[in-house]
């Protein structure tokens, strides 16, 4: 299995802050399946830039507040 992408996210907290929004509600809002939202939230899958912007738009925050690059990550050769 490939290593998880060097990106963390705060989707779980943002969902909590938005009235305990469910994964399904978020998925419906961005046109994805609940399973894809779960995979993004658990950092198993890095979404496209468009999907990342859509998620940020749903929560009304900048994309950097949703996804954070792990600066200490060293790319594998």
């Amino acid at each position: 299995m490939p290593p998880p992408p060097p990106i963390s996210n705060t989707i779980r907290r943002l969902r909590f802050d938005h009235g305990e929004m469910t994964q399904q509600q978020l998925a419906d809002a961005i046109g994805m399946t609940r399973q894809t939202v779960a995979a993004i939230e658990q950092n198993k899958y890095s979404p496209s830039l468009e999907a990342a912007f859509r998620i940020a738009e749903v929560f009304g925050v900048e994309i950097g507040a949703v996804f954070q690059w792990k600066a200490d990550h060293k790319p594998q050769a």
């Binding site: 399946t33 399973q35 198993k44 899958y45 979404p47």
Partner: protein
């Protein structure tokens, strides 16, 4: 479970049941060195019809029970999973077809030795069924790859 994963499960089970039986019957005919091309053709047609008759209602039932769309538009992760699985299936099919071509001389020799009444017909039947087997095998592996990918991301 997404609808696409459910369809993949249904497809694998239905294909293994129907085409598994078909290829087992071809092997049984080969074991007694007696091929009937006409019977095999119609057996294959019936197996295909049966597979569709199982898959379509089962998928509709799965969608209804899960209150899901029958054929929802794929999102980016699903597109990625299907692209990867299609690639695996295609590579497997390519290798299998090349293998069958390389085996054709051996198949002709078997037909000459074991089917002396009609070696040409037996060669054609064996080659066609090997191609069908390679195609069905690649399709099943593709569906299994889809399931594995979905489980990995679950």
């Amino acid at each position: 479970m997404t609808m696409r994963e459910k369809v993949a499960w249904i497809s694998v089970v239905a294909s293994l049941a129907t085409f598994g039986w078909y290829f087992w019957s071809v092997w049984a005919d080969y074991s007694v060195r007696m091929f009937d091309g006409d019977a095999l053709f119609w057996r294959f047609v019936w197996c295909t019809v049966l597979a569709i008759a199982i898959m379509l209602p089962a998928s509709l039932l799965a969608a209804w029970l899960g209150k899901q769309q029958f054929d929802p538009p794929a999102d980016e992760l699903e597109v990625r999973i299907e692209a990867f699985s299609n690639r695996i299936g295609l590579v497997l099919l390519e290798f299998a077809l090349v293998g069958i071509v390389l085996l054709s001389k051996t198949i002709t020799d078997i037909a000459r030795a074991d089917f002396q009444v009609d070696p040409v017909g037996a060669t054609a039947i064996m080659l066609v069924n090997l191609v069908l087997f390679a195609t069905a095998f690649a399709a099943v592996v593709r569906e299994i790859t889809i399931i594995i990918q979905y489980r990995r991301y679950a």
